[in-house]
């Protein structure tokens, strides 16, 4: 537990974390100091003046809370008439030329101007002159569309491109009432994290080309999830909605703060992986090449397994830890060769030194902990003799192997997404994907994270664990897998799998530090 200090807010003493600025410190105990330009990842800029507070210790009458470090014994006043008037005045300034086009604005419902207007202003407009018109729907590149009229010039987006991506495409050009956020002509946003400016923007000035006009923010259910786009395992919000007479659909991913993994941001390609959850999904079960219902397909595959002389199980490096363990158990039970060969999931040189990783699978770290063989030789040797290969979500074609030319080996596929390997399979069992299932994954830095089911489809697909149980596996649910992992796998002997913290558990230090007392 971090050190705490005591200070008083509006005459009430509170105990807050030490070493933070006033905004973050008192936010930790649920007190809001309104602020527009300050963002913890971008530091204090002090340009919006919305966070001005009084500190009764003889210093200048007003200080910006974002630039003031919380200190022991500080007497902070947020409720004086003076402060309330300042907040009203700032809001009036911000709204002078604001188009108030909330009915068609994507940000409506999660907009700082709307929220603060209700909380801190609530006065009718005094403007009786025509509003200044500015640039609309300006294409800034990388899927970002800018509306200058809605902008409050907080410079969060500008600071993001300068401090975080260090690409500096955005600037505030001109000055006074002519100041606008803009790109230099011919040098648009060109970085792989650009869409974070849409989340950072406290108003609707930065919009995502992909999400614009698709959903109202208040209709979206914001479920916690973990991106499976690469081995970083960035924390996300899965924003989804079931419209009337339609299915539960994901409309966007947004970054979710986790200092242990991704900080405040995610990459653009990871953000767009939500599309894989909606499109190109496997729906129709196959048995011996024929479309059948799921129960028949499971039974048919079970019979086929029993008939097989030599069985090979191929597991995807994006399967959850629980799925991998259950597949491993079934493989042992059926005397199948188990392989995790998945070279093709690694795109050498694609990663950077920030969030994006070369390895586009979500859980490869678990292979090593469970002792699953990843070598190509093991797989090819086994395939030479095998008459049945069951792939659990692993698209072999990515690794340069032709799934249609496996010779006498018949191919079965248990997975969520359509791909070349699934197309070639004569047995096909569609299962829930990670957004519809729960499980754990271990990222490239050895952080074990848990995710829950976010989306519930109108016709839910069974989880892979359920299918494995029906195929003869020993585990019915994740609880059973956890007890098995605790007792049978050395790496998890001392990990309290029932109580993984929300921010994840760094396994590298877990053996010593994270044994629950």
């Amino acid at each position: 537990m971090a050190d705490t200090i005591k200070l008083s807010v509006n005459g009430v003493e509170v105990e807050v974390p030490a070493g933070k600025n006033l905004i973050d410190a008192v936010a930790a105990v649920g007190i809001e100091i309104p602020h527009i330009c300050y963002h913890p990842a971008l530091g204090a800029d002090g340009n919006c003046r919305m966070c001005l507070v009084e500190i009764e210790d003889g210093r200048p009458p007003l200080v910006a809370a974002c630039k003031t470090k919380a200190a022991e014994g500080m007497k902070v006043r947020l409720d004086s008439e003076k402060i309330k008037k300042i907040q009203r005045d700032i809001m009036e300034f911000e709204l002078i030329n604001h188009p108030i086009d909330c009915p068609i604005c994507d940000q409506a419902g999660e907009c700082i101007l709307q929220d603060y207007y209700v909380k801190y202003d609530h006065a009718p407009s005094r403007m009786r002159v025509p509003q200044v018109t500015k640039g609309k729907k300006m294409d800034f590149g990388s899927g970002v569309v800018h509306d200058q009229e809605r902008c409050v010039l907080c410079a969060r987006c500008v600071r993001f491109t300068r401090l975080i991506t260090k690409t500096g495409e955005l600037g505030i050009v001109n000055r006074t009432d002519q100041a606008r956020v803009n790109i230099f002509p011919g040098r648009p946003l060109n970085n792989r994290y650009a869409l974070n400016v849409v989340d950072l923007c406290p108003v609707g000035a930065m919009t995502s080309k992909d999400f614009r006009f698709r959903q109202r923010a208040w209709f979206l259910t914001k479920s916690k999830g973990i991106c499976h786009g690469c081995s970083k395992g960035c924390n996300i919000y899965i924003d989804h909605n079931r419209e009337k007479y339609k299915d539960d659909i994901i409309y966007r991913y947004r970054p979710r703060h986790n200092d242990l993994v991704n900080g405040y941001f995610i990459c653009d390609s990871g953000r767009m992986t939500y599309k894989l959850e909606n499109e190109k999904r496997l729906r129709v079960p196959l048995a011996a090449g024929q479309q059948v219902d799921l129960e028949s397909a499971v039974n048919a595959l079970k019979r086929r397994m029993d008939q097989a002389d030599k069985l090979v199980f191929l597991v995807s490096p994006s399967c959850s830890l629980e799925q991998m363990r259950a597949i491993q158990q079934l493989a042992t039970h059926k005397a199948a060769v188990l392989s995790g060969y998945s070279e093709g999931y690694i795109q050498k040189g694609d990663g950077d030194d920030y969030l994006i990783q070369d390895d586009k699978s979500a859980n490869r770290a678990a292979f090593a902990l469970l002792g699953i063989d990843e070598s190509k030789d093991t797989l090819t040797a086994a395939l030479n003799e095998a008459d049945l290969l069951i792939s659990f979500g692993n698209d072999l074609s990515l690794s340069g192997m032709d799934c249609t030319a496996l010779g006498k080996t018949e191919l079965a596929f248990v997975g969520s997404y359509a791909n070349n390997c699934a197309d070639a399979a004569s047995y096909l069992l569609p299962v829930a994907s990670y957004s519809e299932d729960n499980g754990s994954i271990i990222n490239i830095d050895g952080v074990l994270q848990r995710y829950g089911a976010a989306v519930v489809k109108n016709e839910p697909l069974p989880s892979m664990l359920q299918i494995l149980a029906q195929l003869g596996g020993a585990f019915g649910d994740v609880q059973a897998v956890w007890s098995d992992l605790n007792s049978a796998v050395e790496a998890f002997n001392k990990v309290d799998l029932q109580n993984i913290p929300a921010e994840g558990l760094a396994l590298t230090v877990s053996e010593v530090d994270n044994v629950t007392a």
Partner: protein
């Protein structure tokens, strides 16, 4: 004030000539941070071609090794940088508070009627250009007009007429 965010292209690539190049390299040794070179570099550009084109901003940014957006910000912030070709007689009228209250608008209106110029424009013959600028720091003798860099204080329409007449006849203001 004109919309200074609108940059103009010169249509040809920009590079410092030998003299300005040497000056740039000399200045580069002076500052601990290369970003400090933005202001003097823009002066060098203006010195060389009279105004600052889109190409020149890109050149300066790449030469310094900073973001083009940052040079764009600086160039558009200071009204002393000319973002389009200016006339032989460049007139800057201060539009900030003191000058505003003491009648800068009459001066702007006069120039508009007399020369057909709006702030930010250049006359067809290339003789005059007009710009409304932020505070020139001579509030005590407002309204202030700056013509080709020289200050004219306590201005009125009549005084402006005289100054312009002198300039047009070839004399110094």
């Amino acid at each position: 004030m004109s919309n200074r965010a609108e940059l103009m292209e010169s249509g040809k690539p920009f590079a410092f000539d030998a003299e300005r190049d040497a000056e740039f390299e000399r200045l580069a040794k002076r500052y601990p941070s290369r970003d400090s070179l933005i202001l003097p570099s823009l002066w060098l550009v203006q010195d060389q071609q009279g105004w600052i084109s889109t190409e020149a901003i890109a050149y300066v940014a790449d030469r310094i090794g900073t973001f083009a957006s940052q040079v764009y910000e600086v160039a558009t912030f200071y009204t002393m940088y000319h973002l389009q070709p200016k006339g032989k007689i460049h007139i800057c009228v201060c539009r900030t508070l003191s000058c505003y209250l003491l009648g800068k608008q009459q001066i702007v209106d006069y120039l508009h009627n007399e020369l057909g110029l709006k702030p930010g424009q250049i006359s067809e013959d290339g003789l005059f250009s007009l710009e409304e600028v932020e505070c020139l720091g001579h509030c005590g003798s407002a309204p202030v007009v700056q013509i080709n860099g020289e200050f004219h204080e306590n201005m009125s329409v009549d005084k402006l007429k005289e100054v312009l007449a002198t300039l047009q006849s070839g004399g110094r203001s």
